[in-house]
Symmetry: C2
Amino acid sequence: MARPGGPVTIRQVALNAGVSRQTVSNVLNAPHRVDPVTRQRVRSAIEDLGYRPNRNARNLATRRAGLIGYCLPARDTPNPFMDRFLHLLTAEIERSGRHVLLFTGTGIEVYADLVAQRAVDAFVLVDTVDHDCRHRWLADRDVPFVSFGRTWDGRQPGPWVDLDGAGVCYRLVTLLCDLGRSRIAFVGRAGVTGQNLDRMRGWKAGCTALDLPSDRLALAVADTVEAGGAAMRVLLDTEVPPDAVIAVTDPLAVGVLREARRQGLRPGTDVAVTGFDDSPLASVVDGGLTSVRQPVERFARTVVDLLDSANGDRGVVLPGEIISRGSAPIRLTEQDVN
Amino acid sequence: MARPGGPVTIRQVALNAGVSRQTVSNVLNAPHRVDPVTRQRVRSAIEDLGYRPNRNARNLATRRAGLIGYCLPARDTPNPFMDRFLHLLTAEIERSGRHVLLFTGTGIEVYADLVAQRAVDAFVLVDTVDHDCRHRWLADRDVPFVSFGRTWDGRQPGPWVDLDGAGVCYRLVTLLCDLGRSRIAFVGRAGVTGQNLDRMRGWKAGCTALDLPSDRLALAVADTVEAGGAAMRVLLDTEVPPDAVIAVTDPLAVGVLREARRQGLRPGTDVAVTGFDDSPLASVVDGGLTSVRQPVERFARTVVDLLDSANGDRGVVLPGEIISRGSAPIRLTEQDVN
DNA sequence: CTGAAAGCGCTTACAG
DNA sequence: CTGAAAGCGCTTACAG
């Protein structure tokens, strides 16, 4: 394995097998072109010497990088969901001998730099924001990419994958209604983003379809337990308080839950509460928090599929999975277990 | 920026500046060697054309990769602490124009492959286990690496960084004693690892130094809330139950807390509880969980320092920081706020 | 089927 | 200080 005299090159394999370097290359890249006998001989030499083509040399010749750029942004609060996604994405990309190249800079100049250096073949865009400028910038320069998340601005360039937030919220309303709930509130985030609006839309549509009121709405100022508690305080400070709350994140839901308990309400009984992302919080909360699990494996797989299929501007929405726990003991039907 | 005719090469810069390609290269890599006037002219051309050297070509010539390998292992349970570390490490490495290359395979053959392909310059080893075989393998082949975590087997090859677990546990005992606690228990993990033993050693040493008993010990079978609860049940099922518990992880501490409450004990009052890692859980728990925060910024910085200093087999232990919350309202002194 | 040639885009000694 | 030469280790047409 570890030869003296540095790493093994294609020249040594060629010498060892008694062929030219081109033939070794052909065995690796176009095996059908070389005689089975020669092929076997070369393969033995490769095996014996533990040869692996030098990545940089190969990349230079093929004008590829074998790397996919991924921005790992600074987060004020950890996001286990995104970390899981990164892991699965990395594994998926590895299957084709490529790897993920990580960077932290968020400015477009960082992308420009990576492109100019030919350091990556493509990008996977995450933490997409409304009107994200990266998509257009990359598309204009013919740099391949796939977006995890939408920019919510009409004609989004490039392929993308996202959760069907409206769909799962609609479904939550239906299931909460089955549970006998009729005053279903929604706790979103202030500074309404496309994602928020999407989920809110599903909630509204569900309420309308079932003839339930959809006027119980509170917006939290941050994605924290405290902000969730504050939002719940607002909701409870009305004539007829809600008997169910759909929160757009788990921390908010935990805050809602805590405030409810503080005001003497029994979670799951007096008020049903649901969150999003099925974070570790959800199972640690007393009694458990019902939450929407995102199909993170499918997201990762789909992203790589789109990356490799050059599928134009195709967008894919995937359904969320409702995980029922004590905070909202929803009875799932076969429709919910895909 | 985006020129027709593909990306800008060094040849075009040379033409544009009226010099040879070597001179352009020198301006980039040994500016002192070229005449200030020429240098300025070349720099203008670089600027005008938006030139950035092709990474692969440069790498091939310099026999470097500009990439640091990092294995992102599959986790059954999310680890926000390690994810933070990865982010900080990436940022730190970026400062020198390098990047992190991610992979998921844990077998040594994955490392061997990356090395043979010259895909990375070095590795950062995380999720180190007792008697980890990677360190010796890499050291034997002169592949640079730095370990985050110890192998706990005597002569560990290569530089490493780790938490002073014994030190912070010793300190915890002292502070809990100041709080009037005299029956301080320890909840570790079964299948005792070096990390466990290190922390346990600190706890034992602290108890001994203060003339406190150190016989209250329970081992949890998994790193979960449930296992923590089970361990606490064991500890409470004795003649004189503990009035303080040091748990080696936050999930275990949450389990301890929950079990205590279930048995009618008031956390922070009847029994003080501390955890490790200052995870999001710690601040979400009612009243808050006192926890040991790891100096993750310093870890990342130190790892990169060691990576670049070729500092032989130097090992660095860094102190933990105690974050006091309701579950163990420890009074910190200036000694604890470094 | 196989190999001699050219080239990928840089850098590193080394003459001038 | 500057440039002609050689080389990094591959691959890709293209003759034979």
